[in-house]
Amino acid sequence: MSEPILKITGLNKSFGAIQVLHNVDFAVYPGEVTALVGDNGAGKSTLVKCIAGINSIDSGELLWEGRPVRIQSPNAASALGIQFVYQDLALSDNLDITANMFLGRELTWGPFTLEGRMERMAREKLTELSVRTVSSVRQVVNSLSGGQRQTVAIAKAVLFDTSKVVFLDEPTAALGVAQTRQVLDLVRRLADNGLGVVLISHNMNDVMEVADRIDALYLGRLAAEVRKTDTTHAQVVELITSGRSGDIGLSAATAAQSA
């Protein structure tokens, strides 16, 4: 079994008097999709923001490729190779696909943008991800379907080969059947290309379909990390709703206490 590329141990996070994350351990493996599940308010987004450097952490250790690191700003995270696709996508509607993918890190010659080079790279990246549904990388994002937009957002996150881990916060939440299909295929391909993928989702079908591992958060505590092959849909649901299932998950006492 491979070593985790990103490993978090004993992470605690409070907002004022409210402790939102308790001693959370979490790991991301290259070439695998790790699903992060949990009910509303379980702390998924907070965990992601702590890793992204948007929220500060109270205590806990982050290991990146085995080395301890501190991530104090979004730029620090992306410098390491960790990318995030937020649920609200963060695309500029009035720019084209290429401009969006390169936003903030354009290829330039002096102050000038190198359109051609960027267009070619955007096309190559989308081809590499087997995204073939757009007819031009100069299409304005405004004119794309929801699935295509999500695809562009993901391609943007993994544009440079320096990206090693990508977090996707509910990438299929607003999508129809066919478009969900597209995005899930893409998620799988990212992992098959060797990236560590973290998928946050409330949709158990999606999770059971593409995930290799499933980490369930229950009221700010990591209830369990299970391999997809060792678990069932019902068990994951139970972990999410009560923090335990059979002999895995939080001890009855802890689960009761946090509730």
Binding site: S92, G104, P111, A178
Partner: protein, 476 residues
């Protein structure tokens, strides 16, 4: 809507996807049919571009030409261009702020105030003595503070220009050189823009409020600068020339050759290079046709303006500076907006500021830059306006100037909602706006009619803007 997920005939679904997608449009050359198709798709998708304003220009032009005898006369056209010049310069600056989805209501009075300081400097030959200690040092401190504010936001070009203004003030060099007086006015404009930019970008006050407050303030400062008395600028030859003089005919032709030739060269090289790199590129025919249109139109206009329009013994001919200067400035700003990272970031912020911030773009600084450009252009527009009005008058830049300029940008196709617009919008829109009073004057109509009609034209333009925006939203 360009969605490949649209249910199509089931059997044909795979080939259809292959045909529509697969970056087909990226690897094939773009000929005339596709250029036309893409243009229609863009207009229907909510980006009408210059179409409404060009139509407006044509329709109004035809109406006015048909109903008056003098509208298309050489003299009147030259007059029209002078009337459009200051509106277009202020509108050119406003485009930057509008692109961010912000507004600058103080552009008009900023222009009036900056022109007032320039005029007072020239006339008095000693600005310090003329305006007194309080005003002089207040201006100095204000400019110093805006340098600090600008530098703290990591803007350097703006503070550099303001610093030049301070040096001029301290040395008094602007008092006996008109060009330096112009530069002085512009540097005050940039200082003004830095202040409004910092208040909007750093403190987060809505630009509407910031610039409404400053609109009033500059009106007052303008009166201090003028000591409540209008100053005539007609004796200053260069200043007088801004809206009254023409380029030598050969210079007009040279400018035409440079602009048209530059356009042809840039589009041609671009097409060839992109073709070489296996990217979608315009076919040679398309490039030549477009350049041909530019050459014919530009050539006709230059030829027309180079005809003698004097009535007596003295020949008056040549492209008015009031036309060529705004066009040269427009070309420079167009290149800055469309070819540089900075320009792209400006559009990105207008489209989705949060996305821009997350992408690591320095949103604050870029916003401050836009306000600096807007106020600097307003100062330049103020200089033209002063000349057109006979001098730095006490009410210069107040009244309808701002409304006209905003209207020009919006009529030209710049969106009030941010993210869409081009410098050329300011020029085309200003022509439409200037046509109305010009033609009404020929009709011997009163000022009231002019204001009512211009107000209505702005409302129509804003409606077109809002409707296209809605189309763009629902097109998804």
């Amino acid at each position: 809507m360009v969605s490949t997920e649209k249910p199509g005939p089931a059997v044909a679904s795979t080939p259809v996807v292959e045909e529509r997608g697969s970056f087909r449009a990226d690897i094939t050359p773009r000929g005339i049919p596709r250029a036309v198709r893409e243009y229609i798709a863009r207009v229907r998708g909510g980006d009408p571009g210059a179409l409404p304003s060009v139509l407006g220009l044509l329709v109004l032009g035809i109406i006015f030409a048909a109903t008056t005898t003098d509208f298309l006369s050489k003299t009147n056209i030259a007059n029209l261009l002078a009337q459009a010049s200051f509106i277009s310069l202020i509108a050119l600056g406003l485009v930057f702020v509008l692109l961010l989805g912000e507004i600058d209501l103080s552009a008009g009075t900023t222009g009036g105030m900056c022109a007032a300081f320039a005029a007072r400097s020239l006339v008095s030959n000693d600005l310090h003595k003329a305006v007194g200690n309080v005003v002089f040092f207040a201006l100095l401190v204000f400019m110093l503070v805006t340098i600090v504010l600008g530098v703290l936001s990591r803007s350097y070009v703006g503070p550099g220009i303001i610093a030049i203004g301070i040096i001029l003030m301290l040395t008094g060099a602007q008092q006996d050189n008109q060009w330096l007086a112009f530069l002085f006015a512009i540097s005050i404009g940039v200082a003004v823009g830095t202040l409004s930019g910092v208040l909007v970008a750093r403190l987060g006050i809505p630009s509407f409020i910031v610039t409404l407050a400053l609109f009033l303030a500059w009106e007052g400062v303008q009166l201090y600068a003028l000591n409540n008395q209008s100053i005539s600028t007609t004796n200053y030859n260069y200043w007088f020339g801004l809206t009254h003089n023409n380029m030598a005919t050969w210079a007009g032709w040279l400018l035409f050759a440079l602009l048209a030739g530059g356009y042809l060269a840039v589009t041609l090289v671009r097409s060839l290079l992109r073709g070489r790199d296996g990217l979608s590129h315009d076919t040679l025919l398309l490039v030549l046709i477009r350049a041909g249109v530019v050459v014919v139109l530009g050539g006709l206009i230059t030829w027309f303006l180079n005809q003698n329009r004097g009535s007596g013994l003295i020949a008056i001919a040549g492209v008015p500076w009031a036309a060529s200067l705004p066009i040269i400035i427009m070309v420079i700003w167009t290149l800055a907006l469309s070819k540089t990272t900075w320009g792209r970031h400006l559009y990105a912020i207008g489209g989705n500021a949060e996305a821009a911030r997350r992408a690591g773009i320095k949103v604050d600084r870029t916003k401050i830059n836009a306000f600096q450009i807007c106020s600097g252009m307003a100062a330049l527009g103020g200089l033209f306006l002063a000349d057109f009005s006979g001098g730095a008058t006490t009410g210069l830049g107040q009244g309808d100037i701002l409304l006209f300029s905003v209207a020009a940008a919006v009529i030209g196709g710049t969106s009030l909602f941010g993210g869409r617009g081009r410098p050329r919008d300011g020029i085309i829109g200003a022509l439409v706006i200037a046509m109305i009073p010009n033609a009404l004057h020929l009709h011997n109509q009163q000022e009231q009619a002019n204001e009512v009609i211009t107000g209505l034209v702005l409302l129509i333009a804003a409606s077109v803007d809002a409707i296209s925006r809605r189309r763009a939203r629902t097109a998804r």
